[in-house]
């Protein structure tokens, strides 16, 4: 049996991703391994940052004079272990408080800082969340495909927590240029089984021998590749670039950023 083009070998539409960083502290290093943080770590870090640090350092990380966390501009710190030292020990007689973070939170916050908050450093306009919500549910037609906090269809990604796990730049890109923003795991797939069933959906997970998807009927399906006669992965997103104005896009991004799990 042939599985046609399981691998789409698509070299760069060059995007820099991920995050380099380095961790001297053993507890942290144990988790991450060699010179690199995982995307999960960045996600965790993003959450810790908004909850514990943004108050003083600001959403962009530049509100404390002389320090811009997002571009790695510090007064004293250089290495990751320096950062760990400042965060866990505090500085300036407590003006920078000492935080007692769990290992994975510490790991995450360092990852998030090293990721530059936003891997591309694009300055994104962030508008009014309330207006954004109205656009999301109305003119933008987003709610036709996306589910938020228990309302809406499930075939497109659930966006209830999207503000905590994506940067403003990546949210904006998803609206303006969905093709370049399309994450590999989100590519639409079309499978045909030996029993001649055609399944269309979105991947949730995959390994060498199996693939897990949510199909167009919102069912969770796990399929063995050896039971498939064809398996196609598309390069094209299932939606067009938005035709909203730039003010409207800013508002929708503002709304998406406010989506940080259930209230």
């Amino acid at each position: 049996m042939e599985i046609p083009s399981l691998r789409i070998s698509r070299l760069p539409s060059l995007a820099l991703c991920a995050v380099f960083s380095f961790c001297a502290q053993q507890t942290v290093a144990q988790e991450v391994g060699d010179h690199q943080y995982t995307s999960e770590a960045v996600e965790t870090g993003s959450r810790v940052y908004t909850q514990q640090c943004a108050l003083c350092h600001g959403p962009q990380g530049d509100l404390v004079d002389g320090i811009d966390l997002s571009i790695g501009q510090f007064r004293n710190a250089q290495s990751d272990s320096d950062l760990v030292g400042v965060i866990s020990g505090g500085a300036a007689e407590g003006r920078m408080p000492a935080f007692n973070l769990r290992a994975e939170e510490m790991n995450g916050i360092i990852a998030f800082i090293r990721a530059g908050f936003d891997p591309e450093g694009v300055a994104v306009r962030i508008g009014d969340p309330a207006r954004g919500k109205a656009l999301f549910e109305g003119k933008g037609e987003c709610a036709d495909c996306h589910r938020v906090r228990g309302v809406g269809p499930r075939t497109a990604p659930d966006l209830s927590n999207i503000g905590a796990i994506r940067t403003p730049a990546s949210l904006q890109r998803n609206l303006l240029d969905p093709a370049t923003a399309l994450l590999p795991i989100n590519r639409p797939v079309r499978l045909v089984t030996r029993n001649e069933e055609t399944i269309v959906g979105r991947r949730l997970n995959e390994d060498t021998y199996t693939v897990q998807i949510i199909d167009s009927q919102e069912r969770l399906r796990s399929l063995k590749k050896s039971d498939l006669v064809s398996y196609e992965i598309s390069d094209q997103p299932s939606k067009q670039p938005t035709d909203m104005t730039s003010d409207e896009v800013a508002d929708v991004v503002g709304y998406l950023l406010s989506l940080r799990g259930i209230e």
Partner: protein, 529 residues
Amino acid sequence: MRTTMKIRKYGIAFLLILLATNVSAQVSFERILNAEDEPENWLTYNGGYKSQRYSKLDQITPENVSDLKLQWTLQNQVFGAWQSNPIVADGIMYITERPNSVMAVDAITGRVFWKYRHVPAENALVCCGANNRGVAILDDKVFMGTLDARLVALDRITGSPVWDVEVGDVNQAYSVTMAPLVVKDKVIVGVGGGEFGIRGYVAAYDADTGEEAWKTYTIPGPGEPNHDSWEGDDWEHGGAPVWITGSFDPELNLTYWGVGNPGPDWNAGQRPGDNLYSDSVIALDADSGELKWYFQFTPNDAYDYDSVQVPVLADIVWRGTPSKVMMWANRNGYFYVLDRVTGKFLEGKPYVTVNWSSGLDENGRPIPTPQDEGMPTFPGNQGGTNWYPPSFSPRTGLFYFSAWQDYATIYRAEESEYEPGRAFLGGGFSVLAPAPGAPTIGIGRTNPINNWTNEVGFASLKAMDPQTGEEVWSYDQFDVSDSGMLTTASDLLFTGGREGYFHAVDARSGDSVVERQLGRTDCDGASYL
């Protein structure tokens, strides 16, 4: 009546003890020399001094391998992957657990006889996880290197320490993660710390006393040959660690060691010169530690291409001539065949996409083609392969290893100042991904969901023909793999991967014979079967 019973019992117990001491033979150097001939045991990290990870066992065949059943599981108590390779001697398995514990385990039931815990000094620094890759065994002792750069000898029956010596200065971030290599009456280890500006070395210790017998630096000091491959005082903190167990050729009396990256890792401009013997294989006299030859894979490395692969030795007819060769799939993306008597380059070809170099000259020296700033370099920072132990099957004549395919990195170089015990990296890197902000491969896998996908890199188990330097077949996985290999006399190849599958593959054709989901990922192919 009662009294007699008691006496009787004692009598039997006593007899058993006598029997036991007679039966459990010592693991002598002679036995390790001929380890291949007792395939029911696994007496060195790589299964024998040639490091072929080939087993003469043939009960498990392509026909019956699917009947294999899980016999026991030993759950690790510490977060993180096992990189430890078990040693098995006469039914007892010695395995280490992070950070630095040793367990003696009944190989039949998986029950633990004893556990020894070494708690590394609090200031121990390791770049890449609290790894330990296992123990070495000799006579009545097992030996473990520690994260705080000590070497500990334990009684292999009781688990109590016999001696415990310093290998390196923990304050300067020296560490030992490799399984030691025992040769004759010596225990040999190398040091880690290539991300912290150490000066690497290999050192040998008397197995009875722990006394240092010799120590050879992997960076030549003033007055030594090749010192001029460094400028100024760069050599003092130029890295070149040794963190994977080497091999030994008893006829030549040479030990072979893969040497790691120069420091700072990514700023090659800051350390002009070839930076010998970083990213090289070195041949050291087993008795004196004297350097006999070296071969450098990546001069003035800017990509963290540690040459810490296992040197795989074989005596084969190479292109018509009986030869003592060494085979090496390097982190830099090239597969090499070397003459291990002299270190001469015989053959070398890329096995994955390589763009940091356009090829090798007739001496095996790479022709550099550095990429423009911001452009991806192939292979990426973790390399085309890494420390994952390969296998060579004398039956098929093929060399097998785990490669990372389609994986690239964008490097950034920066000036950095050396400070003792601090990271000394000279920049950073990011992994090439198909969309901005898309998840990429990490060093380990902590997420049960693969949301980075094979588009940022995937595992390709490759079978290479040393005669041509070419790939004969490959077997791909969806995620990358850090797994070692084991081949058998029944022409099976066993390996694992990050997805948690245990794979049995036909070593001749590359066809999958069976795969089993075992849960967490396993790092080493030398499973106890």
